[in-house]
Amino acid sequence: MIQKLFFYASPQNFYPLAGKLWPVFACLATVLTVWGLWLGMFVAPTDFQQGEGYRIIFVHVPASWMSMVIYLAMAFWALLGLTFNTRLSGMMTKALAPTGAICAFLSLWTGALWGKPMWGTWWVWDARLTSELILFFLYLGHIALTNAIDDPRRADKAGGILALVGALNVPVIYFSVKWWNTLHQGASVSLTKGSSMAQVMLEAMLIMGVAFWMYAAAMALYRVRSIIVVRERHAQWVAELPEVKAQMMKNASGGTKA
């Protein structure tokens, strides 16, 4: 089992595996999104307090979940990469970061869209909103750092340390912001819903959660394939890939025409 895992730790062996896996995850994501959105938009009853507006929850909550899960996944790969010194781990961390940032941004954006009709304001300095915003900043910092360093090995390791420091800090930030919030302002807005959710709403939300998860996996695998090809472009096995060969042929023929 362990042998098998280390076999796939090599970018050369992981590249075809990722190529097989990402379409599976993408298909699952599509099917689950269609199913979840259908349940959420058409089957789930109208909320008697919030009307139709609450339906944004089916995008908002899964996006928030994934923004946190992806940061944990990044920290996991970073830890693996720093302990075993595997190249692939750093590439996975790098591949996950943009999807995480998108999820965090989506969560903030849909939250604002939801907040306007429900609370009458685009933004409140609530503990959850604020910590999500800071999580978004952490993602941006990670992306900026790994992009600023030219040497990919150094970028991976530095990004790994940053991801771990950030992961240690996220709970502290969350609790500090929570305490700050309860001290500064009264509970003008309560995010916790008074009534328990209807069964079908919960189902739709969970399905959308899994759909987002599958989407994140598909995107990360797709992106890691590109990263592998770019980083290993000098290796023989990359030059022998059929897709790379086809592209080379195209470029060569284009070059002669020009």
Binding site: L82, I134, F137, L138, L140, G141, A144, L145, A148, I149, D150, D151, R153, R154, K157, A158, I161, L162, L164, V165, G166, L168, N169, V172, I173, S176, V177, W179, W180, L183, H184
Partner: protein, 222 residues
Amino acid sequence: MSAFFAIVKRDLTLALRRKNEVITSVFFFVVVAALFPLGIGPEMNTLRLVAPGILWVGALLASMLSLGRMFATDYADGTLEQMALSPNSLSLLVAAKILAHWLLSGLPLVLLAPILGLQFDLSTNALWVLTLSLLLGTPVLSLIGAVGAALTLGVRGGDVLLSLLVLPLYVPALVFGAGAVQAEISGLGASAHLSVLAALVLVAAVFSPWASAASLRIALES
């Protein structure tokens, strides 16, 4: 341990030979604190309310200004490599550099804060708490900042990048530091906030030199 004090002494001596850099970041703090009332208006009640936040954010930015220089000159002239090669643990030497950074950029802010607090009409108790919170909080800024400074060492556009990396991680220190003063003003008592700040210093003091040393090794490898 002698290496630890040798490095602290060396960094202090170097900084005192070039007083300019130390004084600039202290003046930055003073100027920022003076700009806020100009932007907000001279209403004393409002200023008293926003003073802890302004002074804390000012201190945070001022201590960040000098972070880029924490390792840069030693990296440029090869001292850092010698430190990494020395038989002493690099974490210990980094801890010494962090302490020196705090003595040069944190401590002056702590000493200056009560005077700036007077401009905002803070009460004597609030001034004490402000000073105490900065005394406990500015080391956290130097400790966390050291990790960021080590990660961005020799990187293109490192200074701007450093602020992007470090500022979100400063949030807990800011919340509890400014919160302590707020709590004192509102009569809740600041002891809880100050205890949390002390806890943050201790945790950061354990992890930061180690993480900074690991980041420095990565920077030196390439």
